[in-house]
Symmetry: C2
Subunit: 404 residues, 2 copies
């Protein structure tokens, strides 16, 4: 089914009518850190936000904007400073960015959204940011997607963007996406920054529905360290310029869009896991044979979040005991004696605790850059896949000194 989603370049600028830019302001020293995405026609917008009780100022602002109009012309994002735990002044700063951008672009205040990522508890260098906005707006370009991908990076080591094109009822529709996130990534909610653009013509409630469902199967299924950020958000903008007949209810067209969107989001999610802080391996964990998708998802997540499993994978140690122990504390009911475990194509454990581990074969699978762990519960027909990375000494090194 997915084979007809054609990959194209351009990231968030790939869909019709989107431009982007990025500039350097006095937050980080060595790279662009303030980004702008603009839709020439006000786009329907959907959002998913962190469930962290300590939500950053930009999260509050976006939630308020969504309630007002659910139309969006621009998204402004900075990296290097989270604008979280900054109280009233933090909120004022975020609103000031909204107003200055709206004024410069000549759009209503209600159509500008903001995002931040970085260190908690420091005020934004707001004067520098406001002073940079005219230049940011003047630099907008159809080629700006990559600049946004770079500007929102913090400890990320690689840009995370992608775009696809597909046919819908004779029209060509595009979806582009950009994400950041390498640490503080947890499998509940937004989990990072992601901005997705599309030129599809769709009613806002369905746009929100597609985003919320997609997040469950993509960003909520990656995990780097189990920590949940104060700033996570995923925004999805649809400006309608693909000129397809408005999707106003569920049906074939909606399902096709949802599948395409999920494809983009899963690819972005995998890029995040692949770039986990200190990661030397990309790990795909699949639990099958479960009684429900929920069971499979919880168990895959528990294995993915186990420090002992992640360090064993780092050490290329086929220590399946830690995997079954993690399944055991997932609080999901299952029969341990029915469990089967594979590393890649190498079987390790068969039913009734039959250990069929071939150390050399298992080591060979685990020595790859991309590792797959497959667990069959042999209880039902449901499955779920989760993406994570190994836990390395480098993770500790990075996070022991991030602030400094």
């Amino acid at each position: 089914m997915r084979s007809d989603f054609k990959r194209i370049s351009g990231g968030v600028c790939a869909p019709k009518g989107f431009k982007a830019s990025a500039v350097q302001v006095p937050i980080r020293k060595l790279k662009k850190d303030l980004a702008l995405i603009v839709s020439e026609k006000p786009a329907a917008i959907a959002g998913v936000f962190t469930r962290n009780r300590v939500a950053a100022a930009p999260i509050e602002v976006c939630k308020a904007q969504l309630k007002k109009s659910s139309l969006c012309s621009a998204v402004v994002v900075n990296s290097g400073n989270a604008n979280a735990c900054t109280g009233e002044k933090g909120l004022q700063d975020a609103w000031a960015i909204v107003r200055e951008t709206a004024k410069t672009l000549g759009v209503p205040d209600s159509q500008v959204f903001v995002g931040s990522t970085g260190v908690i508890g420091q005020f934004l260098p707001i004067d520098g940011i406001l002073a940079a906005i005219p230049n940011l707006c003047a630099s907008l370009s159809r080629d700006g997607g990559g600049d946004v991908a770079e500007a929102i990076m913090t400890t990320d080591t690689a840009k995370k963007e992608m775009a696809i094109e597909f046919e819908l009822e004779g029209k060509s529709v595009r979806i582009g996406g950009v994400a950041k996130g390498a640490g503080m990534i947890a499998p509940n909610m937004g989990t990072m920054l992601a901005f997705i653009t599309t030129d599809i013509n769709i009613a806002q409630p369905l746009l929100q529905k597609a985003l919320s469902a997609g997040v469950q199967k993509s960003f909520n299924r990656v995990s780097v360290d189990g920590d949940e950020s104060t700033n996570d958000m995923a925004l999805l903008l649809a400006n309608g310029l693909a000129d397809n007949a408005l999707i106003a209810e569920e049906g074939d067209a909606f399902e096709r869009f949802q599948a395409a969107l999920e494809f983009v989001m899963v690819e972005l999610a995998k890029l995040i896991a692949r770039d986990g802080e200190g990661a030397t391996k990309f790990v795909e964990i699949t639990v099958s044979g479960a009684r429900s998708e929920h069971d499979a998802e919880v168990m895959a997540r528990t294995v993915a979040n186990s420090s002992l499993v992640k360090t064993a994978l780092h050490g290329e140690d086929p220590n399946w005991g830690r995997i079954i122990a993690a399944l055991g504390y997932s609080r999901i009911d299952f029969l341990p004696e029915k469990v089967e475990i594979y590393f890649g194509d190498a079987p390790v454990l068969k039913q009734n605790f039959q250990i069929v581990l071939d150390e050399a074969k298992a080591k060979a699978e685990l020595s790859k850059r991309d590792v797959s762990v497959r667990i069959n519960l042999n209880l039902g027909e449901c499955s779920a896949t989760f993406w994570t990375c190994d836990l390395s000494e480098k993770y500790v090194e990075i996070n022991g000194s991030y602030r400094s």
Copy 2:
């Protein structure tokens, strides 16, 4: 209140009527790995066991024994092999150890309990173990407490034992305890091996009640890596030789015993956190000003389990933002703007996000071996303390190669 619990030596052999021994069997190569604790008079026994759905064979055996008689004459424990995920043969092996020990000591089968810790998914070298039991029983000594503490160690770097003495209605009562656990320690349930002996005279239901309550405030409040073992157990033996009037109902005597027991268990729990795999710091996290003890406990646990907090502490980085972010995803309702945070005596964050962090002072607190993090929610009167350690490169190194 606790000042009149006099610390004494002897570990599990400190209370009257207990002996212990340890020998080397062909499991581990360099140290004693099979231990025995014996009460000369059958003791009332209470137990708390892992909630991991994948429970090891010795867990199943102990649960069955407890249902039969709740009397115990002997506990046999091996390290280096968990006897978990070993199916029917694993159970047979555990029962064979029970029978051989009972026969050698001349006590009923129902009065022998077993425990194991180590690698999952390998069969015990059962012939070697059975052959060693006569020698193990012949070596029993009033001085054997330390041998047990050593024999149950796996990745532990230090023995964990303690004993106290206190007066109860004119009688001298003793409690001794031994524990192991450095990795795969999580804050739910048993979380490690702990064997506690006492010569108090108490009815079994009250003994179980005291143990279960004590576990909640001690072993369930330490965390090294958030993983929960297949083999966790805490056993408490009371042989009555202190000759106090039988404690058959709740009241002053029971409360005094419970306080003494909790004191011993908390000290053992702290020893476990202090010896966390790769730990360079012992960390005490206290959440106060909570609406309930449950709220305080969940929040302290969430902070203690955050990889980002633990790496920051390792790096001696006063990164309070990660602490408040962890509070935020604890799913407990609170007001972020009321939170106050201290590192030791150094205030870091006051109400309304007033950052009072003095970097030099905070660094000085964090550079200590014992670090305290105090969080005041300013919402209520309840508090809870949790113990953990930092997350170091060494943890990754140890766990990347444990099996080999």
